[in-house]
């Protein structure tokens, strides 16, 4: 009962509509303010090169975060994306050495789908809590990456291997196009298709969803495959960009991905959120990094500032739920 009164007071003080609006679109407001501020304060910011830099810096995390949005909305976590990232990078390099770079990219991504399916099986058929299951599978996957490399770095000699990571199409890097592609497709799927509605339903209340005829196990299985594919694509891109694959790639990557999703305003409890939020969250983080460089903030304050802004965004975000 006390809870109800608090809400009533809140509504009276802040006015329901305006209060909700600010909370719901806080990240958009913050993004616009930061963007305008940088555009006014810096001559370099609005140049094509700089804006492309901002987007390029967010592409790799962005690809994985967009897929992670679906996983999180469905009420699950995937903490194995960093390890899948490494496996895909290593396999693509290995196959590029043995066969050719194109086969490398294809097998790397296929491996991601298979590992994602393993996660999905464990969580749906095995009924294991995804947060812990994917910590465990991350150990296994990274072990696989280590076995493949034997602890070495794999550097394919074929020049074609670096095409995906370094070359551009219409003067924009391939990685950015792939990020845009992922965001558009998954954004459409989540917002406009039956599958998307199933994802929301599964995340907000799995039992009710199943009673209403939503195949929630299939939905959860599918989002883990998507997450695996996205992590693999990101891994293949990074391997191609650096020209080598190593089993240590992507350590701690999963936490950055979850932070990006949470900053956008997607609830980590599931059932709420959107792909566009994650896109804004990822670009926002990259914008902060860019702004700190343009503002010539000393290098050693950058990580702290980024951390504090993540904390602030998370604190504001909890008002939504």
């Amino acid at each position: 009962m006390a809870e109800l009164n608090v809400h009533a007071v809140k509504e009276e003080v802040f006015g329901r509509a305006s209060w909700r609006w600010l909370i719901d679109y806080g990240i958009v407001v913050a993004f616009l303010i930061l963007f305008t501020l940088l555009a006014i304060l810096s001559d370099v910011f609005l140049t094509k090169t700089n804006l492309l830099n901002v987007i390029e810096a967010s592409a790799v995390v962005g690809i994985v975060a967009v897929a992670a949005t679906l996983v999180i909305i469905a009420g699950e976590f995937d903490l194995s994306v960093g390890a899948i990232f490494a496996v895909a990078a290593v396999i693509s390099a290995e196959v590029a050495i043995a066969v050719n770079p194109i086969a490398g990219v294809v097998t790397g991504i296929a491996a991601g789908a298979v590992l994602g399916a393993c996660n999905g099986m464990l969580i749906t058929a095995g009924r294991v809590f995804s947060f812990i299951a994917t910590i465990a599978t991350a150990l296994v996957f990274r072990g696989i990456a280590l076995i493949i490399t034997g602890g070495h770095r794999l550097s394919p000699r074929d020049e074609g291997f670096t095409t995906l990571g370094r070359e551009t199409f219409v003067s924009v890097k391939y990685s950015v196009w792939i990020f845009i592609g992922f965001a558009l497709v998954l954004g459409f799927v989540l917002a406009r298709t039956a599958f998307g509605r199933y994802v929301y339903a599964t995340g907000s209340n799995r039992l009710v969803a199943r009673l209403s005829g939503v195949p929630s196990s299939h939905v959860r299985f599918a989002v883990f495959i998507l997450s695996g594919i996205a992590a693999a694509v990101a891994g293949v891109i990074v391997a191609s960009r650096s020209g080598q694959g190593s089993a240590e790639l992507g350590l701690g990557f999963e936490l950055s991905v979850i932070a990006a999703v949470a900053i956008g305003g997607t609830s980590i409890r599931g059932g709420q959120g959107a792909v566009w939020r994650t896109v804004i969250g990822v670009v926002f983080l990259s914008l902060i990094g860019n702004g700190l460089i343009l503002a010539e903030v000393p290098l050693h304050y950058r990580r702290l500032t980024e951390g504090l802004i993540i904390l602030l965004a998370v604190a504001l975000g909890r008002a939504r739920s």
């Binding site: 009924r127 991350a138 150990l139 076995i147 936490l255 980590i268 904390l311």
Partner: protein, 333 residues
């Protein structure tokens, strides 16, 4: 009744296992890791002569201290129904603070500052969770990022700090009765945590809060205080682990501990403490940690390539968590 509803509910409510199976699953959850630990211990003792030597057993204990101390605090946090994803960052941060303060003043003050930093950060985590109302998972995820940044600032811009202060390595390298201090620290902290959980009102409150938050609140438990205090303890043990390590190698790196966070949580789960909160114990965690270390030790002694070790450990965790969730399904229905 119309047949169209037939089978609608099938598979919705998990099928209820028989009483015998439920009892069995609960026993496996309860003592599975202890059985596996003993089986592995006996197997290694029989197959490899080098295993059952004082030197090797001492190694085993000493190698367990880093993860063990972090996992000890994490056990209380998890039983209280929370997660601390910042424990690895606290581990590194405490080391950085200790070296920097030791450089400015004395070694003892440096060590104290390191410990205090762990307590302060744990308290800040507690405030974020109880006062600001952020999910502990997200709050500590974010505070972990802040800590790595703060570590860089404290280390004035570099990611790594070193010290040449005399006696800085006393804590990490010193030993009594040919056993390193860090091993005593692990045993001591485990016993203390076990005592608190088992015999004090605070311990029972931790179980109550993790088991059912609302019920605990209604029963008069100050849930906010209990949750915050477990995070403080988590911060303290992580800082202690970081200090011992830093003291031993005289180097601290701002993000060296980040990769310890998830393995520490994994060790707690392997021991049989429930991720959902409300069930578990510290002795379980100790066995979980020793088990993981013993797997590595055994792999080395048997000259199996260490890359297979993480695959094996991952498999064990899946098994442990699987048994945990199956036994919970059966006790709920």
């Amino acid at each position: 009744m119309a047949s169209r509803y037939e089978g609608l509910f099938e598979g919705l409510v998990p099928r209820r296992p028989t009483l015998e199976r439920r009892v069995l699953l609960n026993h496996i959850r309860g003592y599975g890791v202890a059985v596996m630990f003993i089986a592995m211990f006996v197997a290694l003792a029989i197959t490899t002569p080098a295993f059952l030597t004082t030197d090797n057993l001492r190694n085993l204990l000493e190698q367990s201290t880093q993860i063990g101390l972090i996992a000890c605090g994490a056990t209380l946090v998890i039983i209280a129904g929370q997660f601390d994803l910042s424990s690895g960052a606290i581990y590194s941060f405490a080391g950085v603070v200790a070296i920097v303060v030791a450089g400015e003043s004395t070694v003892v003050l440096g060590m104290l500052a390191g410990l205090v930093s762990g307590v302060v950060i744990g308290f800040a985590n507690g405030l974020l969770v109880t006062r600001v109302g952020i999910d502990s998972f997200l709050a500590t995820l974010a505070s972990g990022f802040v800590l790595v940044g703060l570590g860089i600032v404290v280390a004035s811009g570099s990611g790594t700090v070193r010290t040449t202060a005399v006696d800085f390595d006393l804590l990490g390298r010193g030993s009594a009765f040919s056993l390193k201090y860090e091993a005593y620290a692990l045993v001591g902290v485990t016993i203390l945590a076990w005592f608190v959980l088992r015999f004090t009102a605070f311990g029972r409150q931790i179980y109550a809060v993790g088991g059912n938050l609302e019920a605990a609140r209604v029963a008069g438990v100050k849930v906010g205080q209990v949750r915050a205090l477990t995070l403080v303890i988590g911060g303290l043990t992580a800082a202690l682990a970081g200090l011992l390590q830093t003291s031993e190698i005289r180097i601290a790196q701002v993000d060296s501990g980040v990769s310890l966070t998830l393995p520490a949580i994994a060790a707690v789960i392997i021991g049989g403490t429930s991720v959902a909160g409300g069930r578990g114990g510290v002795w379980r965690t100790l066995i979980g940690v020793l088990f993981v270390t013993m797997v590595g030790n055994g792999f080395n002694l048997l000259r199996i390539d260490s890359v297979y070790q993480s695959i094996f450990t991952g498999g064990i965790i899946v098994l442990a968590v699987g048994v945990d969730s199956w036994s919970k399904l059966s006790s709920r229905s």
